[in-house]
């Protein structure tokens, strides 16, 4: 049978299983098994499953994943977000949009210590939503900017999504981390720019500034930022000074988070163990999906489908821009219904040979993927940041989704910008690893 029709059958099979509520990891495994039936050559499908999954999960670089998850679990239980709000707020009164920018800044900073988008969104929203509402800021803009800025948790390193991608695509984790910084700043600027323009256009919907504070007070308030900044500096110093490799800095991040929790009196044996078990469960959930994906990837390698598809796409003679545009549309569609990790693992086996053949750098493509995953986080009906904000604000899902829409389009704009100016992504990794 022709490989492309086999690919279509397998895709239909996978969609059927997922639609019927089969657990994602199991559905991937089943699809991998079905693929093996087309591979020919009497390959023992079961032994391949056992070997592949063992080889992929007993992995040094993957060990950073549960640690970054754990770090997020610990930080969520601290008062970090409150301190960040108080630290940033006194400095933003001169900007059009005033305190609304706290959402972006606080998410950016919290994103530098957390590896998760939903955790960043929830942690910052917990404090910023009520504070901004109390002061009379436009609630829709507040919701939208929190939904959008929350996704900085996975674009600014560390990032669970990046670890998953790097392991799947077999690229260096540290390079993908480095590549995320400037796009993270870019997205922050786009968000803040939008907030400023919106506020200039709607002057009546921005409340008056907080009463001015003395410089001393302001500085005193900003001292609240110190624990978080210390944690960022601590993690990056451990990297730069050669105390830790990219994988090991996750362990230092956990240690720093525990120290902050302890300092704030939020650390007890009970909360410690709760964070361990919470992280363990999230890790297991992701790992079963990764296991299924690695088996499906191997099965695809046996069939030769990814290469055939890559050649087929190559034969279409799309320009690189057209390919990225097509992939963006595909991911936006997938992202309405799937969460980010599943989206990445479902597609990498097929898409990576394609983008490689089109001449894209796999580090660059990692950032592209993170951006489309961010879109998925804020697109209905399944978007975890929307769920978080829906709950915290008590608004219905339509309102929240509509509020997030401008920020969704800003992410699309960010994809366009990094596609036209790939240097934004590649500059830092190139400086650190020339050639």
């Amino acid at each position: 049978m022709e490989l492309l029709s086999i690919a279509a059958i397998l895709l239909g099979f996978l969609a059927l299983l997922l639609g019927a509520g089969v657990w994602i990891g199991v559905a991937l495994m089943a699809t991998g098994w079905a693929g093996m039936q087309f591979a020919g050559g009497a390959i023992p499908a079961g032994s391949v499953l056992a070997t592949t999954v063992w080889g992929n999960s007993a992995s040094w670089s993957l060990a950073a994943l549960p640690l970054f998850i754990w770090m997020g679990e610990i930080l969520f239980r601290t008062r970090l977000s409150e301190e960040m709000f108080r630290g940033f707020a006194p400095w933003l009164n001169w900007l059009p949009g005033r305190l609304m920018h706290v959402n972006v800044l606080a998410c950016g900073v919290f994103g530098s210590v957390s590896g998760s988008s939903a955790a960043t969104c929830a942690t910052v929203a917990k404090i910023a939503l009520p504070e901004l509402k109390k002061r009379g800021y436009d609630e829709n803009l507040s919701l939208g900017s929190l939904a959008g800025a929350g996704t900085l948790g996975i674009l600014i390193p560390p990032s669970i999504t990046m670890v998953v991608y790097a392991v799947q695509a077999n690229v260096s984790i540290i390079q993908v981390f480095l590549a995320g910084f400037l796009p993270g700043l870019l997205v922050m600027m786009l968000y803040s720019g939008y907030i400023a323009i919106w506020s200039l256009a709607n002057p009546t919907r921005t409340p008056p500034a907080d009463p001015p504070m003395s410089l001393r007070r302001r500085i005193a308030e900003s001292l609240n930022l110190i624990p978080c900044l210390l944690l960022i500096v601590f993690v990056f110093l451990s990297l730069l000074m050669g105390w830790a490799t990219a994988t090991e800095c996750a362990a230092w991040g956990v240690l720093g988070s525990l120290a902050i929790a302890w300092w704030q009196g939020a650390l007890s044996w009970e909360s410690f163990w709760a964070s361990v078990m919470g992280a363990t469960r999230v890790n297991c959930m992701i790992l079963l999906i990764l296991a299924g994906a690695s088996y499906m990837g191997t099965s695809m390698a046996y069939t030769g489908i990814p290469l055939a598809l890559a050649n087929w796409v190559n034969g279409l003679q799309l320009s690189p821009y057209a390919l990225i545009a097509a992939l963006t549309v595909m991911y936006i569609v997938l992202g309405t219904a799937l969460d980010g990790i599943s989206m990445i693992v479902l597609t990498t086996a097929i898409v990576i040979p394609m983008v490689k053949q089109a001449g894209f750098d796999l580090v660059w493509f990692g950032i592209f993927l993170v951006l489309v995953v961010e879109m998925a986080e804020v697109s209905p009906p399944v978007g975890f940041n929307l769920f978080v904000l829906q709950t915290m604000s008590g608004k219905d899902s339509n309102t929240v989704a509509k509020a997030a829409l401008p920020f969704f389009f800003l992410l699309v704009l960010a994809v366009a910008i990094i596609t036209v100016f790939p240097a934004i992504v590649m500059l830092l990794p190139r400086i650190a690893f020339p050639g």
């Binding site: 070997t51 670089s61 490799t245 030769g304």
Partner: protein, 311 residues
């Protein structure tokens, strides 16, 4: 990348997992081998080379072929030295320090390695060497005493024993994280070939390369014996013939390229040096110690191989 052909009825399709990137000389040689086999059998046997660990990761390849998950495979044979000392004979430091010596050692050890592989249902096809291993460092090394305190990458039995014997600090670093570890000074000395140093741009962090030719590791390509036996005689002969050609081609290429890589290191402003006499003597003494270590593990079989090699 290998050509993609939909299998016709009378065709046999083999998979050959390999661990190194598609443009690595070993992978290039494997792809040429696969093509030779395809040509010689008129397309009856199609071997697909899965480079860059895209099918199985390096540690799993041998086992995958032994259990029929793939019909053939290539692996750095010393990876399995814990399993049988014979697999680690080519990484005994300072035992064979040139290509002719390495070839001699290979021929001396080949029957024993063949026997061991056969006991696991594998049939040896051919072996191709890497470059000779030298020491990358950031300072002059006149004697082995100068190696004391170096942060030394220890990734197998031999390299950790060397660290122990010279008083260097063994450091555990995964290969993937080595460039970063070098850049930040986590590691300041390590042993590898000129080619690996060239690929990882060693000159960005290292200043010296001591061409000690400490050992010459090999990749070994093997097939699942049952899969081989299932082929008809002409196809089997075609494989063996292509294997012999691949082995010769591989050794020749490795030897030619080894020199080229050292020239490249030099061109990039690294000091490429022969080990100074005092360092050499010191290292040779360590080599004797490590050969004795190895013989203790390998027993009479090992003694017989070493005796044959030294003859």
């Amino acid at each position: 990348a290998p050509a993609l052909v939909v299998p016709a009825a009378a065709q046999t399709k083999w998979n050959l997992p390999a661990a190194y990137p598609a443009d690595n000389p070993h992978s290039v040689n494997l792809i040429a081998f696969a093509k030779d086999v395809g040509d010689a059998t008129g397309g009856k046997l199609q071997i697909t080379v899965h480079a860059a660990a895209s099918l199985f990761k390096a540690p799993e390849i041998k086992r995958a072929v032994a259990t029929g998950q793939a019909q053939a495979g290539e692996v750095l044979i010393s990876l399995h030295e814990n399993e049988d000392p014979m697999f680690g004979i080519d990484v005994i430091p300072f035992l064979s320090t040139s290509y002719p010596a390495a070839k001699k050692l290979w021929l001396a050890s080949k029957p024993a390695i063949e026997k061991k592989l056969a006991s696991q249902g594998l049939m040896l096809l051919f072996a191709v060497p890497w470059g000779p291993q030298g020491i990358y460092a950031k300072k002059d090394l006149a004697t082995v005493e100068d190696m004391k305190g170096l942060k030394w990458r220890a990734y197998n039995v031999g390299t950790s024993r060397i660290a122990e014997l010279v008083g260097a600090q063994p450091v555990t670093i995964q290969a993937a994280e080595l460039p970063q570890a070098l850049a930040t000074g986590v590691v300041n000395a390590f042993m590898t070939s000129g080619s690996t140093g060239y690929d990882s741009k060693a000159w960005e962090t290292m200043t010296h390369f001591y061409d000690t030719q400490a050992w010459i590791p090999k990749n070994v390509t093997f097939v699942n014996k049952a899969a081989f036996d299932a082929l008809d005689k002409p196809t089997q002969d075609a494989i063996l013939k292509a294997a012999a050609v691949a082995e010769e081609r591989g050794w020749k290429l490795a030897e030619e390229k080894a020199k080229w890589y050292l020239e490249q290191l030099q061109a990039n402003k690294m000091k490429v040096l022969p080990p100074p006499p005092a360092l050499k003597t010191g290292l040779e003494k360590i080599g004797e110690q490590l050969t004795a270590d190895w013989l203790k593990k390998a027993g009479p079989d090992g003694e017989a191989v070493i005796a044959a090699y030294k003859k």
